[in-house]
Amino acid sequence: MGRFWSLLFLTVPILGVGAFVWAMGDLWPLKGHWLPTNINDHGQVIDNLFTFILLLTGAIFVGTGLTLFWFLWKYDGAKNVQPVEYTHGSHTLEVVWSIIPAATLLFIAIYQMNAWADAKMRRPLLPSGQVKPPLAVVTGRQFEWRIRYAGFDNQLGTPDDVEVVNDLHVPINEEVVLNIQSEDVLHSFFLPNMRIKQDVVPGMQQYVWFRANKLGRYDIVCAELCGWGHYKMRGRLTVESREDFDRWLAGAYEAQNKAEFTASTGDE
C-alpha cells in the first residue's frame, strides 16, 4: 500500500498545477475562471505581481510535493530494508533553508511596495501640482451606492451636482479620482476589472483612482459584509468616451431637474 499512498501524494502537485494551468488557459469547463479582464492602466502591475507570486509559490509547491512523494516512495518501510539514517538534523541545512526563504520573502515584500504606494498613497496630481479633485463622491448605504457628481463647475455641494444611484459613469483614458465614503455601516468598494478595492468606514474619507482603458459596462461589487442584503449591493460602471460622458452627465442633470420640478409641482 505504500506505493499507492505515495502516488496519492504525488497527485497533489500534479492536479494542483493542472487546475491552475487549465483555468489560466481558459479551457472548458473552466472558461473565464481566471482574473477578469483588466481595464485599468494601473491594474496591470497587480496582475503581474499576482503572476509573479504564483510562479514562485508554484515552484515551491511542486518542489516540496515532489520531494514528499519521492521520500515516501523511496523510504517506504515495507520496501526499504536499510537501517534508518540516525541523525538529529544538520546545522548547515537549517541555516541554508532559513536564509534562502528569508531573503526571498524579504525580496517579495520590498518588490511590492512601489505598486502599493501607487495604488493607495500617490494620488494623481493636476498639472499645477495639487492633488486631483474627485470626479464624484460614492456613498455606500444599505444596500446601494449613491453617486454624486460635481457637475460642470467641478465643485461638490453646489446646485449643479448630479445624483444617481448604482450607475457610475467615467470617461476613458483619464485619471479618475473617486471619493468614497459610507453613510451607515462598513462596505467595500470593489471594482474587479480595475483591481480596486477599498473598505468604506463611516466617519472616514477614502479615495481611489484609476485610468480606464476599455469601453464597456462592468460590475461594482460590495466586498465587506454590510447586512442581509450585502449580495444585492450591485452597482454598474460604464466606461465611455469623454463626449459620451459629458452628454450622459448633462442628460442626468436634466432628468434630475425635471424630476425635482415635477415633484415640487406635484405637491400642490
Binding site: W5, H33, L68, T87, H88, L106, K120, M121, V201
Partner: protein, 584 residues
C-alpha cells in the same frame, strides 16, 4: 458505584483525562453541527433559492423551504463561530492539551485540577448562549464571526444585530474565560510538574506546541475580552467606542458617536491573529510526534522546530494588520505589516523542511495517523503558500474578501489542523480507550476525506482569482460571477461527500471504543512518556515513577538493539558504566 460517585468520576471530574475526553466528545459533536451548517452555505451557493430536498421544508418552513438571505448570514456566522470557538480551539487545547500534557511530561495530573474542571464547565454557558444566539427567532446573529461594528453595534443594522448579537458576544466571552483557565493551568503544569530528568529540551514537540499556545492565549485573550465588553457597552449602555459621529443606520440616527469602527478591527485581530496560531501550533507539534514515530527516525532539527514554534508565536503578535490592508488603515502601516507577515512564513517553511528531513532516510509505516500527518504537511504547504498572495499588499487589494482567502484558511484549518486532529485521534485512541481503531476503516475515511476536501477547497482558489466575493447569498446576479455556478455545484457535491465520509469515522470511533482490538501500553512502539502508562491510565496516571533519560525521538538509536529507545528506559549497563567513568 453510587450516583454521587458517578457524578464525581465522570461529570464533575477533576481527572485531566476525563476532562480531556469531555472536551473531545463535546467538540466532536459541535464538529458535526459546524459541518452541517457548512452544507447549508454550500447548498445556497450551488442552487440559490432552491428548496433543499427532503429537509428543506423541515428546516425553513417559514421561508417555504428555502434559505432566506438573513438566514444565510446566520449560517456563515455560526459555521465559523462553531468551528473556531467550539471545535478547533477546544479540541486542540481542551481535549488533547488536557489529555496529553500530564501524561507526556510524567505528571500525575494538572497543577490546578479544580480550575481544569471549571475550564470545561465554563464552555457550557458558551454552548447555551451561542446556541440561543443561533436559534433566536426570527434570525440568529449574522454579522460574521468577526462581528465588525457598526453592523454588529447597532441594533437596527440587521435582524441578527438584535438580541442574538448580544448573546453571541457573551458566549464568546465565556469561551475566552474557559481558554484562559486552561492556559494558566497548562503553563504552570509544564513549568512546574515535569518528571525527574524531563528538561525543557526533552519535551515532545506536542508539549512545546501546547506550551507556546498557552502563552499566546494568556497574552492575547484579555484584548479580545476587553473589546467584547466595549462592544457590549456600545450595544447596551449607549457608549460610542466603535460608533462614529452622525451615523445613521437603517434610518435611525445614533445618539452617541465620536468613536472609530476600525478600533474594533485592531483589537479583534490583535487576539484573532494569534488565535490562528493557537489553532495550528499544537497540531504542528502532534504531527511532528507522529511523523517521527512512523518514519522510525529522530525528528530532524528538534531545536529549530522549537525555535520556529516560538518564532511563529512572537511574530504572531505583530502581523494582525494584514487583515486590514484595505480597511482604511493608514497605507504606510500596511507596508510594515506586509514585511512582518512575509517574515512569519519563514518559521513555517523551516518546519516543513524539517518534516521532510525527518521522512528522508526513514522506514515509513503508512498507518492511518501517519497518512493524516502526511496530509497535514502536504496541505499546510498549500495553505502557507496561498498566504503569501494575501500578505503582498497590492495583490491583496484584488483578492481580499474573495474566495481566495476562504481557500487559504480552509487549507490551514481544515486540510491542516483537522487532518492533524484526525491523525491524533487515531494515534492516541489506544491510550484513551485501551483499544485500537480499525486501520482499514481509518484508511477509507482518510482517502475519502482527502479527495473531497481538495475538490471542495482547491477550487476556491480559482473562484478567488475571478474575484468571487465571500459572504454572498447569491452572487450570480453579477455578470462577472454568473458563469461560476457550475463550479460551485461541483464544490457542493464534494462538500456533501466530505461530510458523508465522516460517517465512516464516527462508526470506527464508536465501534472501536467497545469492540476494538485491545492494545498494550505502547502499541506504536513510541518513545514519549504517555506510552509507559497503562492503557487507559488509571487515576494518577503512572504505576511507577517515570524517570527521563533522553529526548523523545530516539528511534533507530545505535545504542540499543530495538527500533525505539523510550524516554523512560534506563541506559544499558555498559553505557551507564562509561557515563559514570566520565563523571568521576
Amino acid at each position: 458505584m453510587s450516583a454521587g460517585e458517578f457524578v464525581r468520576t465522570y461529570v464533575f471530574s477533576l481527572d485531566h483525562k476525563i476532562i480531556g475526553l469531555q472536551f473531545l466528545f463535546s467538540t466532536l459533536l459541535w464538529f458535526l453541527v459546524g459541518g452541517l451548517l457548512a452544507l447549508g452555505i454550500r447548498w445556497q451557493l450551488a442552487w440559490p433559492w432552491q428548496d433543499m430536498p427532503i429537509i428543506g421544508r423541515m428546516l425553513f418552513s417559514a421561508e417555504g423551504g428555502q434559505i432566506s438571505p438573513e438566514f444565510y448570514t446566520t449560517l456563515f456566522t455560526m459555521h465559523a463561530t462553531v468551528m473556531i470557538f467550539f471545535v478547533i480551539i477546544p479540541i486542540l487545547a481542551g481535549a488533547f492539551g488536557n489529555y496529553l500534557i500530564p501524561l507526556m511530561i510524567g505528571a500525575d495530573d494538572m497543577a490546578f485540577p479544580t480550575l481544569n474542571m471549571l475550564s470545561y464547565w465554563f464552555m457550557w454557558p458558551a454552548f447555551i448562549l451561542i446556541g440561543m444566539s443561533f436559534l433566536w427567532p426570527p434570525y440568529g446573529a449574522g454579522n460574521g464571526w468577526t462581528s465588525y461594528p457598526p453592523l454588529s453595534a447597532v441594533w437596527e443594522a440587521a435582524p441578527g444585530s438584535h438580541w442574538p448579537q448580544t448573546l453571541w458576544l457573551m458566549g464568546v466571552t465565556f469561551v475566552g474565560v474557559s481558554s484562559m483557565m486552561g492556559s494558566v493551568n497548562y503553563m504552570t503544569t509544564i513549568i512546574q510538574m515535569r518528571a525527574p530528568g524531563m528538561t525543557m529540551f526533552r519535551l515532545p514537540l506536542t508539549i512545546w506546541g501546547m506550551f507556546i499556545t498557552a502563552v499566546l492565549q494568556a497574552f492575547a485573550l484579555p484584548v479580545l475580552t476587553a473589546a467584547g465588553f466595549m462592544l457590549l457597552a456600545d450595544r447596551l449602555f449607549g457608549t460610542g467606542f466603535f460608533l462614529p459621529e452622525s451615523n445613521v443606520v437603517n434610518n435611525s440616527e445614533m445618539a452617541t458617536g465620536g468613536g472609530q469602527p476600525l478600533l474594533w478591527q485592531h483589537l479583534f485581530w490583535f487576539y484573532s491573529h494569534p488565535a490562528v496560531y493557537i489553532m495550528i501550533l499544537p497540531a504542528m507539534g502532534m504531527v511532528s510526534d507522529m511523523i517521527a514515530c512512523f518514519a522510525r527516525k529522530p525528528i530532524f532539527g528538534y531545536k529549530p522546530m522549537v525555535y520556529s514554534i516560538s518564532g511563529i508565536a512572537g511574530l504572531g503578535f505583530i502581523v494582525w494588520g494584514h487583515h486590514m490592508f484595505v480597511s482604511g488603515m493608514n497605507p504606510m502601516l500596511g507596508m510594515v505589516f506586509m514585511v512582518s507577515t512575509m517574515m512569519i512564513a519563514l518559521p513555517s517553511a523551516v518546519k516543513v523542511f524539517n518534516w521532510l528531513g525527518t521522512i528522508w532516510g526513514g522506514r515509513v509505516q503508512f498507518t492511518t495517523p501517519m497518512l493524516f500527518s502526511l496530509a497535514f504537511v502536504s496541505m499546510f504547504v498549500i495553505g502557507g503558500l496561498s498566504g503569501i498572495f494575501m500578505a503582498a499588499t497590492p495583490v491583496d487589494i484584488f483578492i481580499h474578501d474573495t474566495y481566495f482567502i476562504v481557500a487559504h484558511f480552509h487549507y490551514v484549518l481544515f486540510a491542516g489542523t483537522a487532518m492533524a486532529v484526525f491523525g491524533a485521534i487515531h494515534f492516541w485512541f489506544p491510550k484513551m480507550f485501551g483499544r485500537m481503531m480499525n486501520e482499514n476503516l481509518g484508511k477509507i475515511h482518510f482517502f475519502l476525506t482527502f479527495l473531497f476536501l481538495n475538490g471542495t477547497f482547491f477550487t476556491m482558489h480559482i473562484l478567488g482569482a475571478v474575484g468571487f466575493p465571500r459572504r454572498y447569498a447569491d452572487p450570480y446576479d453579477f455578470e462577472t460571477f454568473r458563469h461560476l455556478q457550475p463550479l460551485n455545484q461541483f464544490m457542493t457535491i464534494c462538500a456533501i461527500g466530505m461530510v458523508a465520509a465522516q460517517v465512516v469515522f464516527a462508526y470506527n470511533f464508536f465501534s472501536s471504543m467497545f469492540f476494538g482490538r485491545p492494545c498494550g501500553r505502547n502499541p506504536w512502539g513510541a518513545n514519549s512518556l504517555e506510552w509507559c502508562a497503562p492503557s487507559p491510565p488509571g487515576h494518577g496516571n503512572f504505576d511507577f515513577q517515570p524517570i527521563v533519560y533522553r529526548g523523545p525521538y530516539e528511534y533507530g538509536s545505535p545504542e540499543v538493539d530495538t527500533d525505539n529507545y523510550p524516554q523512560w528506559q534506563p541506559p544499558p549497563e555498559s553505557a551507564r558504566a562509561s557515563e559514570d567513568a566520565q563523571h568521576h
